[in-house]
Structure formats: structure tokens, C-alpha cells
């Protein structure tokens, strides 16, 4: 495999809850090292979409291939950052970050080494023995991001991770995420309803329709980094995506 290969292939993904068809025959590919943003209006089934991809939800039809094989969370190195706060309250920062590695039964020395590395990247060295109830919202979100990156995932899934943060904090964490992505080369699928966020972060955007959700448009985002949200090109792309969403 080389950079640019498809790491993920989604084929005919279909999911319904009872009579309600939520995802309708969705197919797309994700290239290795991509930062793919999936945008759609609130309630269109974005979370269902990621949960179905990872088989946290049973699907009606379709499959998701990782490196050409049907996704197997025990085998494929996937990390998922959820919309809800997902730090474990009984573990301190260091233990939270090492959680995924512990689940993967990595040796103690390796866990410590990787935790030390990512804890520095997210700037939480001083808080390694603090518990979640002693941390601010931004710190909690950094812990979750660090926990995902500690496992050096081949594929990182993020479901509106900054949806409930204030703007200033959101911008800061977005920059931190871009920095981590550039350093690690991890493939990211990032779900958001915020078009500006999608244009700022991604190098590819998929626009979803409302329920039953299908893909409305796939578009490349070749804006140079670091991106300026006030630049004419940025605004033009943002408006283009907004137009697509406005049509339903």
C-alpha cells in the first residue's frame, strides 16, 4: 500500500430504524492520509452513519472495507472520537490516554512511551495525574484526542467533537488537530454540521442530503494551509457547500 491508496471503501451502506430509512445506499472511498469531512444538517443521520460504518449499529445492507477487508475492530487500528464526553471518570489523564493501548494489550513500556509522546502534543503533561472531574471541557476533549492518537490509528473517526465548545476553544482545538494530523499522517473522517469547520479542516468534503441520507456531492478542497477563513477562496468554497445544503 502506498499513500494515495484507498484505505476505506464503503459500499451500498443502508440502515433503517424500523420503518424509517436513515441511510440509503451510500458508497464512497477514502484515500490513505485523507482528511475527509462529511457535512449535513443536524439530524440527517451523521452519527448513525459513523456508528454503522464501525458496526456499532447493525446495518441492513452494505459493507465497509478497510485495506480491502471487511472492517474488524479487533484487527484494524481504528479510533473513534464521539460527540459526547467519553473520558472514563475513574481513570486519570495518563490512564485515559493509555486506555486504547491497554485494550490492545501493548507492553507497559510501549504504553508509557506513547502516552508520554501524545500527552506532550496536546499540552497536558502537567495534568497527567488529574481525574476528569478536575479538568476543564477543553482539557477533556484533548484527553480524548490524545487517547485516539496514542494508538496511532490507521483511521480516525470523529463525530462533531467540537460541537459543544465555544468558538475560541474550537479554533484552538481545530488547529491542534490539524497539527497532529500533519505530523502523524492518520486518515481522518470528520463529521460536522458546521460548513466553515469542514472547509477549514478537510482536503475532501462529502455533502449529505437529509433523511433518507444519501451523498449529494463529493468535492476536493485544495485550499493552501494554514487556511485563512477570511480569504476569498475560503469564502467561495464555504458558500458553494452552503448552497448545496440549502437546496433541501
Amino acid at each position: 500500500m502506498t499513500p494515495g491508496d484507498n484505505i476505506v471503501e464503503v459500499r451500498n451502506l443502508t440502515k433503517s430504524f424500523g420503518d424509517l430509512l436513515v441511510l440509503n445506499d451510500i458508497s464512497f472511498d477514502v484515500k490513505r492520509g485523507d482528511f475527509l469531512c462529511i457535512v449535513g444538517p443536524t439530524g440527517c443521520g451523521k452519527t448513525t452513519f459513523l456508528n454503522s460504518l464501525t458496526k456499532l449499529y447493525d446495518i441492513d445492507r452494505g459493507e465497509m472495507l478497510v485495506n480491502g477487508e471487511s472492517i474488524n475492530l479487533k484487527k484494524h487500528n481504528v479510533a473513534y472520537i464521539f460527540q459526547e464526553y467519553s473520558t472514563m471518570q475513574w481513570l486519570d489523564v495518563e490512564q485515559n490516554i493509555g486506555f486504547g493501548l491497554k485494550i490492545k494489550k501493548r507492553p507497559k513500556e510501549e504504553i508509557q512511551e506513547k502516552v508520554d509522546k501524545v500527552i506532550k502534543l496536546v499540552g497536558l503533561e502537567k495534568y497527567r495525574h488529574y481525574y476528569p472531574n478536575q479538568l476543564s471541557v477543553s482539557m477533556l476533549q484533548r484527553v480524548v484526542i490524545a487517547r485516539a492518537f496514542a494508538t496511532e490509528p490507521a483511521l480516525l473517526l470523529m463525530d462533531e467533537p467540537y460541537g459543544h465548545l465555544d468558538l475560541q476553544l474550537k479554533y484552538k482545538l481545530e488547529d491542534e488537530l490539524i497539527n497532529l494530523w500533519e505530523k502523524t499522517g492518520t486518515t481522518v473522517i470528520f463529521i460536522t454540521h458546521n460548513i466553515e469547520e469542514a472547509v477549514y479542516l478537510s482536503n475532501r468534503i462529502i455533502v449529505l442530503t437529509n433523511k433518507p441520507t444519501t451523498i449529494k456531492r463529493e468535492m476536493l478542497n485544495g485550499l493552501p494551509r494554514p487556511r485563512d477563513i477570511a480569504s476569498p477562496d475560503f469564502i467561495a468554497l464555504r458558500d458553494q457547500v452552503t448552497e448545496l445544503i440549502k437546496w433541501w
Partner: protein, 275 residues
């Protein structure tokens, strides 16, 4: 330097606030205890509101406590022997209840099939008060330690099962998802996610069990026994020794308090990240 940093943090402030609150609590507790003893002394030795054989003063109770440490009258054993018998019986029944009850609650909540098999039986046994088990246990196991251990087991078993069960059921679905996406097996999800989530509830169950065990023990010893604090109280009542009755009651209170303190210490050691 490290100390200076800590001083700057809000954590340091919250620890200081907690310590101050603790000191205040200890002071208030001591003052309330002292006030209680003073009122008691006032009502007995000074105002003589009741005859001393019926309501002895705190000083008389203290003297009886010291004497009972080495005297066997009127019940045939010294106070340490009674305490030893009661603590042994209570701990045995309580530990059996906790060691069987908590894991059973965890497994019932985690494995649906086991839940379906055990829950109907458990739901029938659950509402029966521990004291109601005394007659049948006496008939089946006799007046010795076994019947009392069995009654205490029933008293501690039920809260342990209920709390462990509820604790596991409260596991945050997102935490389970986090584990699953990292490739966790079902046993890893149980031991690394569900049980740690349930730990505060499991400890609550164990604490409730301890109280229930102690109450069941005293009730069992009052009704049928040949030693123990409940037996000592019962004999003292029959010979009209209110001072020994009060010594027995106070011992029950103090021992129960020590057990609770020990459990709270264990809870602080094992349950992390909870305010």
C-alpha cells in the same frame, strides 16, 4: 517550585477547602457528642429524672464498661468475648453476602440469560426482611453460629446484588463504544469499563449490607443465642441491668461506626475520580 505551582491551581484551593470543612465537621461532631453526654448527666445524676437502676448516668455506664472488660457476670462472658463472637459472626455472614452478592449482581446485569434465570427467584426473596429468616434458620441450622451467619448472609446478600446490578446497568453506552472501537473483547468491556463504572454503586451496596448485617446479627442474638452482644443485652434486661444494656448498645454503635470508617477508607482507595 512544584509546591508553588500547586498553590496556584484550583485543585490546591479545593483541597484546602475540603480540609477546612473536615476540621469544622470534626469540631461540630465533638461538640454535639459532648452536649449529648452533658444533657444525659444532667437528667440522671443531677436532676434525677429517673431512678438510677432504670436510667444510669454516663459515669455509671463507663464504670460498668470497664468492669465488664474482665467480669463475666451476669451473662457468663466478658465484654471482649461478646464483641469477638458478634464481630466474627457478623463479618462471616457479611463477607459471604458481599463476596457472593456483588459478583452475582454484576453477572446478572452483564449476561441476559443468567438474569432471566436468577431474577425471578431473586425478586421473590428480595422483599423478605432479614429478621423473617430467623425462625426458619433456627429450625434448619439450630441455635449456633451457622443460623446467625445464614440470617446475616441474607441481610447483606440482597443489597449487594441490587447495587452491583444497578451499577453495571448504568454503564455509559459511549464508554462501551469507545472500548469496542479499540477492539475490546466482551470480558475487557466488563472488567475495564462496566465494573469500574459500577464501583461506586458496588461500594454503596456493601455499605448498606454492612449496616443490614449488623442489625440482623443483633436481632438474631436477641432472639436465640448463647453469646454475643445481643445475648449480653438480653440477659442484662432479664436481670434489670440497664447499665450493661447501654454498654452493649454503645458497643454496637461504635463497632458499626468503625466498620463504616474502614469501608469508607477502602472506597477512597478503590473508587477514583468521583467527587
Amino acid at each position: 517550585m512544584a509546591k508553588k505551582n500547586a498553590r496556584d491551581s484550583r485543585i490546591w484551593l479545593s483541597i484546602q477547602k475540603e480540609k477546612k470543612e473536615k476540621r469544622k465537621y470534626v469540631l461540630i461532631s465533638c461538640a454535639s457528642l459532648l452536649t449529648f453526654l452533658l444533657i444525659w448527666e444532667l437528667c440522671t445524676d443531677i436532676l434525677k429524672l429517673a431512678p438510677s437502676y432504670a436510667m444510669p448516668s454516663p459515669l455509671k455506664v463507663f464504670r460498668s464498661f470497664v468492669a465488664k472488660l474482665y467480669q463475666t457476670a451476669p451473662d457468663g462472658s466478658t465484654l471482649p468475648v461478646h464483641i469477638g463472637v458478634s464481630v466474627y459472626t457478623a463479618l462471616l455472614g457479611f463477607l459471604m453476602g458481599a463476596v457472593i452478592g456483588s459478583p452475582l449482581g454484576i453477572l446478572m446485569a452483564w449476561f441476559k440469560t443468567l438474569d432471566r434465570i436468577v431474577k425471578p427467584v431473586f425478586d421473590v426473596l428480595r422483599p423478605i426482611p432479614p429478621i423473617a429468616w430467623i425462625p426458619i434458620m433456627l429450625v434448619v441450622l439450630g441455635i449456633g453460629t451457622a443460623s446467625k451467619v445464614a440470617v446475616i448472609f441474607m441481610a447483606s446478600f440482597v443489597p449487594c446484588v441490587i447495587n452491583a446490578y444497578s451499577g453495571i446497568k448504568q454503564t455509559n453506552e459511549v464508554h462501551i463504544w469507545v472500548g469496542k472501537t479499540f477492539g475490546a473483547s466482551r470480558s475487557q468491556l466488563l472488567f475495564r469499563v462496566a465494573i469500574p463504572t459500577a464501583m461506586p454503586m458496588i461500594f454503596t451496596g456493601i455499605k448498606v449490607s454492612l449496616g443490614a448485617s449488623w442489625m440482623a446479627l443483633v436481632a438474631a442474638e436477641l432472639l436465640a443465642s448463647s453469646s454475643g452482644l445481643g445475648y449480653m443485652i438480653q440477659i442484662a434486661r432479664s436481670v434489670g441491668r440497664a447499665d450493661i444494656i447501654i454498654v452493649g448498645m454503645l458497643m454496637i454503635g461504635v463497632i458499626s461506626m468503625l466498620f463504616s470508617a474502614a469501608l469508607e477508607y477502602l472506597e477512597r482507595r478503590f473508587v477514583k475520580g468521583v467527587k
